[in-house]
């Protein structure tokens, strides 16, 4: 057996660690966490939550199969199924972060009923399968001690509630801030930004304003020799707090509900129905030929072409876009039709970097590029003309993301490119379909190029040489 490699992002909880070995994912449970782990297993809570898909499955395996590979003092080893794609809360659109927050609260509530508490409230403990959030950290489940406080409350606020409030009360999406501040948004920062009228709300007064004000209180042992004040957090209050938060978060919606540039693009775009059918047909053929396990859809908009790929043999699609309105519609589509499609926020010219501790805790997009295929429709001109990315660089990046792909080239005479050039000089003499194909052919083989609209939009299918990368 290969030597197990510890996951660089799994180090915070001393009760265990994630390892990768032979393409599989294992979680260790150390001796100090053994009692809690066995207690929680005995309650049947995890089996119920795994049964309805809210917690990722985990099967006990023998630790003897890992000679010398694991840290010392391991009591149990659990094998988890590998997820199609790991995403982070700074990549989630608003409804995904909201769904994750509600899942966390629901699990907490059910756990309390079983005498179990969650030791933290990290948003990174939730991953998506399609639009369905699933909790992935078995070690967060601990025995509940009567009267104990909700130790993850502050973290819940910073990683779920405050980023949601930023959008719901200030109309600002959480993604850029969250990416720069991986622990989320603090109550004291949010408090400075919230309109004062919003602070009249009991919930905001309590979870943002009061929490931020009291954070400056110094918590010290009794200095004057007197016995410290004894207090406990009654279980009924714990439950009530979770229920109130859940009810409140369920009502939160983005404040900026006006039209975004791309939200209605599928209805208002500049080409005809038969031209859309031609594009869909090309993607359908591509998906049928490859049957990719994982396909990336760059500039996914509301997910039309991901849906086509999934309907034609693709197993799982991850969409990327930077328009919040389009992403919200894409997420709603995935949720309502139970599509294996996860839409995520991404600026193609500035993809998620590798970051966190030692720059290895949260891999960047390139570090997670395990797709079998990539499609980039109506995407290239936004980077080439909108962001001045040179075509050779763009072609090399695209062909590096997956071994197979379809890229759409939108020529200068197309109204969408004309719009990009309307207020600036055309400094792109090389921006032609021929030159772009030449650039692609430097790192991949062009399988087919088909013009699909009257304006001259061309779909180019490429394949990277087997020895490539």
């Amino acid at each position: 057996m290969n030597r197990p490699i510890p996951d660089p992002g799994s180090f915070r909880d001393p009760c265990g660690r994630i390892y990768h070995c032979g393409g599989k994912v294992y979680r260790t449970i150390t001796a100090q966490a053994r009692d809690d782990f066995e207690f929680v297993r005995g309650t049947g809570l995890i089996d119920r939550l795994v049964g309805d898909g809210r917690v990722i499955a985990g099967e006990l395996v023998s630790a003897d199969g890992f000679p010398n590979g694991l840290a010392e003092g391991v009591a149990h080893v659990v094998e988890h199924p590998r997820l199609p794609f790991i995403s982070y809360p700074y990549e989630w659109p608003f409804p995904a972060l909201k769904a994750a927050a509600l899942l966390h609260l629901d699990i907490q509530t059910e756990a309390l009923d079983a005498g179990v508490a969650l030791s933290d409230a990290s948003a990174y403990n939730i991953q998506f399968r399609g639009a369905q959030p699933a909790f992935i950290d078995l070690l967060s489940f601990r025995r509940y001690r009567d009267g104990e406080m909700w130790s993850g409350h502050r973290q819940f606020c910073e990683q779920f509630l405050n980023p949601l409030l930023l959008r719901a009360k200030c109309g600002v999406a959480h993604n850029a801030w969250y990416r720069g501040s991986q622990e989320g948004i603090s109550a004291s920062d949010l408090r400075r930004l919230l309109p004062w009228t919003s602070k009249l709300s009991r919930n905001i007064l309590l979870h943002v304003v009061a929490q931020s004000a009291f954070q400056k209180v110094s918590m010290t042992p009794s200095a004057n020799g007197k016995a410290p004040l004894q207090t406990r957090f009654p279980t009924a209050s714990y439950r009530g707090m979770l229920a109130k938060l859940r009810g409140w978060i369920a009502t939160l919606e983005p404040a900026d509900t006006g039209a975004t540039v791309w939200r209605d693009y599928a209805k208002s775009h500049s080409y005809a129905d038969d031209e859309i059918a031609a594009k869909q047909g090309f993607i359908a053929e591509f998906a049928q030929a490859l049957k990719p396990k994982l396909i990336w859809d760059l500039g996914c908009n509301t997910g039309d072409f991901s849906a086509v790929a999934l309907g034609n043999g693709a197993k799982y699609a991850v969409g990327f876009d930077m328009d919040q309105g389009a992403l919200e519609q894409a997420f709603a589509r995935a949720a309502s039709t139970d599509l294996s499609f996860t839409p995520l926020y991404l600026d193609g010219a500035n993809p998620s970097p590798s970051q966190g501790w030692n720059e290895r805790e949260r891999p960047g997009l390139a570090g997670r590029a395990t797709a079998d295929a990539v499609i980039a429709l109506a995407f290239v001109h936004h980077l080439a003309i909108g962001r001045n990315i040179p075509l050779p660089d763009l072609a090399a990046w695209l062909t590096g993301l997956a071994p197979h792909g379809v890229v759409e080239f939108v020529p200068k005479r197309d109204p969408m490119v004309q719009r990009l050039l309307a207020l600036r000089d055309d400094i792109f003499p090389d921006y032609t379909a021929e030159h772009f194909q030449h650039c692609l052919s430097q790192s991949a083989e062009i399988i087919e190029a088909r013009t699909v609209t009257q304006s001259g939009r061309t779909l180019i299918r490429f394949r990277r040489p087997v020895t490539g990368r």
Partner: protein
């Protein structure tokens, strides 16, 4: 302008309470969160917070009322 926000900001307090904290807590729950939970914990918790402020209030005056010890002749 006096807002609930600014009032809260103006209340310094030192908290000395023995709270039931979870075993193996590797996460700092944060003082702000703990006091919010004390308040939510009903009358008992709110009384604790009230008592903390009262002790602080009393402490402020008792310190003022106590004469500082005379300097020692040995100094």
């Amino acid at each position: 302008m006096i807002t609930p926000d600014s009032l809260l900001q103006s209340l310094p307090v030192w908290l000395s309470a023995d709270l039931v904290t979870p075993a193996f807590a590797y996460l700092d729950p944060g003082t702000g969160s703990m006091i919010v939970q004390l308040l939510l914990g009903g009358i008992a918790g709110a009384l604790v917070v009230g008592k903390l402020y009262w002790q602080r209030f009393k402490g402020f005056f008792s310190r003022k009322g106590t004469a500082s010890p005379a300097p020692s002749q040995d100094d």
